[in-house]
């Protein structure tokens, strides 16, 4: 494991019983006690996640907003200081380079949060696209650590450590404040479908902040949560994961993220022509979400079969929902087959699990009621 990258909290995880695994080249805790219990804690009370492996990039300069609106599919012009935007970033062919969060700190000062596994690729892509724009792109990945506190008790826990009025920070907004004496970018965002905060802070302060959050949160039911629970929580919420629901070959439209592609924004953003054509013609495939009524997990890469038995796609994510107690997942399937299944004209889509046919019940996510929208 010596070649794996470590977050500043690697020893904190080990000391708290974290099971450390290789995740996108990072030595990260997949779980502490139990993925299922950590998942339930986030839905019922709160969970603390180290997501310091995520990448951070500063985009600054007079053309920062204009550049970002060219780079991503969502509409950056709608941002104002203190506002966060989720967006895919696409190739000219319409596939996805990565999905990211865009933070507007000031009119010429933006901050991006990108996926750990895509950092090098994204930086090269962003820098290539920035040629000709008056912007400065700065890799800040090593400077920042990122802790996420997620769940119904998250606001109470973070509020106990800061003078900032968190009630004024709405969903997908942020503020800059000290939490337990540590200067943070306090973002009301997350990847679980619950209310919560993501706290960006200097890497050198991560142990102090994690220790303070853990001490304040423990009496309020906070649990340490690993990347295993993070994945099952995001799938239950219906959120895409890069490399699964969105890839260089699976566009945001195919993935059901049409709301993040703003054709009307008046900018010829990267991928616009291809996505416009896909929208007009309809894509040959689409991402669908399913449950099975059965506890057997339908693993990624399992072929999806039509009622007639032909292969019409493959599973891209699959787990057991700890809340529903049944298998849930997503699949990339032929649009015609998905439509036929929804209309029940030809029976259900299905998969084979160890020689037994299991029907997929198509579901519009989220799989559980989400409480992310705070007031």
């Amino acid at each position: 494991m010596s070649e794996l990258k470590r977050t500043p909290l690697r020893d904190f995880h080990a000391a708290h019983g974290g099971r450390l695994v290789d995740f996108a080249g990072w030595e990260m805790p997949v779980q502490y006690r139990s993925i299922l219990e950590e998942h339930k804690a986030v839905r019922r009370t709160a969970g603390l996640f180290d997501v310091s492996h995520m990448g951070e990039v500063d985009v600054r300069g007079p053309a920062a907003a204009e550049f970002l609106n060219h780079l991503v599919t969502n509409d950056v012009a709608k941002l104002f200081p203190g506002r966060v935007l989720y967006s895919p970033m696409c190739y000219p062919e319409g596939g996805v380079v990565d999905d990211l969060l865009v933070y507007m700190r000031a009119p010429e000062d933006f901050f991006l949060c990108i996926n750990a596994g895509n950092i090098e690729k994204d930086l090269a892509w962003i820098r290539g696209q920035a040629v000709g724009f008056n912007v400065t792109i700065t890799d800040r990945c090593a400077d920042y650590a990122l802790l996420a506190v997620q769940g119904p008790k998250a606001a109470e826990i973070v509020q106990s450590l800061t003078g900032a009025k968190l009630g004024l920070v709405k969903y997908y907004h942020f503020t800059e404040a000290t939490v337990a004496g540590v200067p943070c970018l306090v973002s009301r965002t997350g990847y679980t479908g619950e209310d919560g905060f993501e706290l960006y802070h200097a890497a050198g302060e991560a142990v102090a902040l994690a220790t303070a959050l853990w001490a304040a949160g423990r009496p309020r039911g906070l649990e340490l949560a690993g990347l295993g629970a993070r994945d099952s929580l995001r799938l239950e919420a219906g959120y895409p994961l890069y490399g699964h629901e969105i890839t260089a070959e699976i566009s945001p439209l195919t993935a059901g993220l049409g709301w993040t592609v703003k054709f009307e924004k008046g900018v010829d953003f990267v991928g616009r022509a291809a996505l416009s054509m896909e929208k007009e013609k309809g894509g040959a495939h689409q991402i669908v979400f399913f449950k099975t009524g059965d506890r057997r997990i339908v693993r990624a890469e399992t072929p999806v079969l039509s009622a007639a038995g032909g292969v019409v796609g493959r599973v891209v994510s699959g787990t057991l929902s700890p809340i529903l107690n049944e298998a849930i997942g997503s699949a990339w399937v032929e649009t015609a087959a998905a439509r036929a299944a929804v209309l029940s004209t030809e029976g259900s889509l299905a998969v084979m699990i160890r020689g037994e046919k299991v029907n997929l019940q198509l579901v519009k996510p989220p799989f559980v009621e989400l409480k992310k929208s705070s007031t």
Partner: protein
């Protein structure tokens, strides 16, 4: 360090076997196996009455991480299976050697179990 009761016998594929006083045997998976698998989400056991050869697949244990086949430590006839695992497969994580048992067999050869690992040999096997 894994919990390895001295009175049990063990297999390379991480099943345990207990010789009961009435000559039947009880089978499950080891504490090491449940810990490696992580959260167990599904256990498939054979039908009562099934006749198993030694080393034959008798079921499947699934965790969030992976699905693994279960292998019969000895040949025999299935006398009972732990149906409580249908609703509560996580019992195997909590109690691999007692409440998490998977099946009871009438062994075809009562002496067959003696060829399996004892606790010390299994400890060496899992390193």
């Amino acid at each position: 360090m894994s919990n390895l009761p001295a009175e049990l016998r063990y297999t390379k594929s991480h099943e345990w076997l207990k010789l009961e006083s009435d000559g039947t045997v009880t089978v499950g998976i080891t504490d090491y196996a449940q810990n490696s698998l992580g959260d167990i989400t599904y256990v498939q056991v054979p039908k009562v009455g099934a006749v198993l050869r030694m080393g034959e697949t008798f079921g499947v244990v699934e965790s969030v991480k992976a699905a693994s086949d279960l292998y019969a430590p000895v040949a025999g006839t299935v006398l009972a299976v732990n149906t409580a695992l249908d609703a509560a497969p996580e019992t195997v994580n909590r109690s691999a050697y007692v409440d998490g048992w998977m099946m009871k067999l009438r062994p075809a050869d009562p002496a067959a179990a003696s060829a399996l690992f004892d606790a010390a040999a299994y400890a060496q096997h899992i390193g």
